[in-house]
Point group: C2
Chain length 517, copies 2
């Protein structure tokens, strides 16, 4: 293998920094193996191989954990941090600061606690599936209680950031540098504008037609159309794939290997497209990270889950539900379908139909606007549970009240309510807010890039995505984790995170869709 | 993960034997990861991921090698070997004897030599590809010289078995317990019968029609037909897959995960079938090894490459080119094809056409009879090179002479001659004979199982393969590496390896095919 790791001049072949980079690369290679096995499991693995796959993951995870938390790793980081020459290079300095932080957090978590969470969540996921099926929250409650407690223990072990609260210790796992109080503020402002907007659309607007979505389309035609869009967006199929899985995902295993999945329903004309564009947004970010030179280093990793989600949401919604995009995409779709089944469709019908706002009990079925209310609900409730302000027993009641007051919906059963998501059963607390952060960052980046690309709409009308992708590459992808998400946002857009761009974007798009001025 | 490792009563949870079994299982899990990555590489990997895959394989191989040759492993084996109670259990005793042998061989190979062979063969394969393309043996000769020398060094390091020759040290890698002198004897006897048989068929027989093979068939129909045959043969698709790759192979990664590949040509009616049946033969062996209980132990591994090949050849040729099989398979094929394209075909035409004997320059294009002459040629030449009786420079001349005298063919270029196979460029010497050993073992097993299954032909005529598979399971698969291949042969068939069953089988089938009595 050629040694592709880039080193500053200060790093001699046997220097601590060179040794550290070599160790990081091997760790990343081990992680990439886990990623490839994960893809295999979801896409091609024979059912009977599940137990073997579990053993493989366990062996690899132990190897990886031991090396991530080794004394040698700690010593190498300390030696490098003490080197003034390394500190003088801003990129290297950023690399080392991120490594120090990751290492400190990794060693702070007692191995026993990590193992207990893994064991309990494996069982909890199992019980959650049955409980959801039966709509029986009581059967899941004891597991959730355990997981909330274990998350509190984890937060204690990790330590609460200065001036923060217990939730912040967990939020750091997904959104380094973000704080619950800041989320609370931005989410509150967004909510203040969203709730009346949604009400006005539904009370005074005219609901777009969505019947056309039920035009059936053979899977192989959908596959070809989806693939052509993904390719056009700039995804490199020489360094990636697009396959089918039950739950769509994107796996960026390492340099040259980024894999997307989607799923098709023959009864729906565009069943897969937006999910495919979403995953492609993730995939373009993975392909844009500087992994060729820096695989294994923080500088080649995503800034945060929220920034990752901003990339997927931008392509899915800001592009994929825009009128200019459909001026290019509808003729493309007609060309793929061939026969007359969609010849009567026009851009206006498709654009308006794709932007219907309709409160739904299920988060993942929700539109661009109401989706954020689902997230705020989850953020508020998990934060309250962690604080001890909300007991697990009271959770379904509070959930149902909030669904009524926020979205006007009665929750018929826990299956369509508090049990709908897998996240808590996996022991993940602090993850949900990254979804709305993705929307917020996407809107704010969209505002900024439209200033730099004044003819973006014309480019989209021609199916030209290179200008957009190029901007994202140079303003977001290339930096990896050099900056935290809040820093990156401010650098790329000139201002700190705000609710305004997202609200303005939704108002500007949805009011005309509903015939309001 | 449930602990599925079976232990004799003597093995207490913390006993050396229990520790040894746990270590072996983890090693097997690491190996299985390499297998899955290997499958991925050949079947689905994006081209740009090749470098990452190389790094993954290197990291894993180092981990595996270090643990296979660790002092701890040696100590555990020694402690178990010294335990009289363990020795008293015949299966455990066999397990320990194989482990001792494997360990001794692994530690005897200097790490430097292993690395040098890996490096040289990587380059040699590259140069071999170019040299073959150009038909330029001179461009490959220096690499082959190095590889022959490195193989001689390896043989020296491994040690020549008592009473054997240098070739035997390498043959042990693929066919434990077999000796070059024994191969020489059996091959010689086979050759003594084969050469006149082939001559007579071609000079006095009437060549069957093969024009029908060129009936085209759409890939999707071939896929469905092949899959139905594989399923009918008894391959468990819940614990395996059938995909497409450039070079067909079978990867038995571990319990519940055995994957086959094949390839299709739309211009040929049965382009994939025999290759598919061949790989399925390997796959049925892998699925029949007792991996559920003993994964990682020699008792769950294949006895030898020759025995593995006997399973693939039996299904490919003894079944797949037999008349009874086609009495079932031809109606099946017609049912899959549907339209009239094959309605005129009859069993006799297909059976005879599939058994044409025709000397071919290319080994892998050769028929059941002449194929063995290709193998004998390679065995004789690689053995002579290793001994120092044949120089690399003289190799093409000797090759071409032998092709003329054995098969009556003039070799137009090294591309169709000495450069056609990848094996030597990979540094593999001692592998070729396992192909003809597979044919020999298959014939001898076939003789024995027909005694136990007197109505086998009727079963095949009905497409019932359970009787055959059951016999192979209980006489071959279930034993793993408990016996060496020669021991297993004698146990399953009641006599030592002989050329007679194969020769008798070929004469009995081919003379009537050619209209001779």
């Amino acid at each position: 293998m050629p040694e592709q790791t880039e080193m500053p001049d200060a790093a001699q072949p046997d220097s601590p920094y060179a040794q550290l980079l070599a160790e990081l690369r091997e760790l990343a290679v081990l992680n990439s193996i886990n990623s490839t096995l994960g893809w295999d499991q979801e896409v091609v693995m024979p059912p009977a191989a599940a137990a073997l796959r579990g053993e493989q993951a366990a062996v690899l995870s132990t190897l990886i954990h031991d090396r991530r938390t080794s004394t040698r790793m700690g010593d190498l980081i300390a030696a490098c941090k003490a080197d003034a020459e390394l500190k003088a290079d801003p990129e290297t300095d950023a690399n080392l600061r991120r490594l120090r932080r990751d290492y400190d957090r990794a060693v702070r978590q007692p191995t026993e606690l990590v193992r207990e969470i893994a064991e309990v969540s494996t069982l909890a996921m199992h019980h959650w599936k049955d409980a959801r099926e039966a709509g029986d929250f009581g059967a899941f409650a004891p597991w959730l209680e355990q997981l909330v407690k274990l998350n509190r223990d984890t937060a204690d072990a990790l330590g609460v950031p200065e001036g923060g609260e217990v939730y912040d210790a967990l939020l750091e796992n997904f959104e380094p540098g973000m704080r619950a109080a800041e989320l609370d503020r931005v989410f509150g402002e967004l909510r203040g504008g969203l709730v009346p907007l949604i009400r006005e659309l539904r009370e005074n607007g005219s609901r777009p037609d969505t019947e056309w979505m039920r035009i059936p389309l053979a899977t192989e035609v959908q596959v070809a159309f989806n693939r052509s869009v993904v390719e056009r967006m700039g995804f490199d199929f020489g360094a990636g794939r697009l396959d089918v899985s039950t739950h769509p995902f994107c796996e960026g295993a390492g340099p040259g290997d980024t894999r997307l999945t989607t799923r098709y329903e023959e009864t729906e004309l565009l069943s897969a497209l937006h999910s495919t564009m979403h995953e492609t947004g993730h995939g373009l970010y993975e392909q844009g990270l500087p992994k060729d030179r820096r695989f294994g280093q923080p500088l080649a990793e995503a800034a945060s889950m929220g920034i990752h989600e901003s990339q997927s949401r931008m392509w899915e919604n800001f592009v994929g539900r825009s009128r200019p995009f459909w001026e290019w995409a509808l003729p493309e779709l007609k060309r793929h379908v061939g026969d007359g089944a969609v010849s009567g469709l026009d851009v206006d019908t498709v654009f308006r139909g794709l932007n219907v706002v309709e409160p739904d009990l299920i988060r993942i079925e929700s539109d661009e606007a109401t989706y954020n209310l689902h997230i705020m609900l989850r953020f508020d409730l998990e934060r309250a549970m962690l604080r001890g302000d909300l007991s697990v027993a009271d959770l379904p009641g509070v959930w149902n009240e909030r669904m009524k007051s926020d979205l006007g919906l009665d929750v018929p059963s826990a299956r369509e309510g508090v049990l709908q998501d897998i996240h808590w059963s996996m022991g993940a607390i602090g993850y949900f807010p990254t979804y709305t952060l993705g929307n917020l960052y996407a809107a704010q980046l969209w505002d900024a890039l439209r200033v730099d690309l004044p003819d973006l709409d014309d480019q989209l009308r021609r199916g030209e995505f290179g200008g957009l992708l190029g901007w994202l590459r140079s303003h977001v992808h290339v930096h990896g984790r050099r900056y935290t998400a809040p820093e990156l946002c401010e650098r790329a857009t000139g201002r700190p995170l705000s609710h305004e761009p997202l609200l303005r974007y939704l108002e500007g798009k949805l009011r005309p869709v509903y015939g309001l001025v």
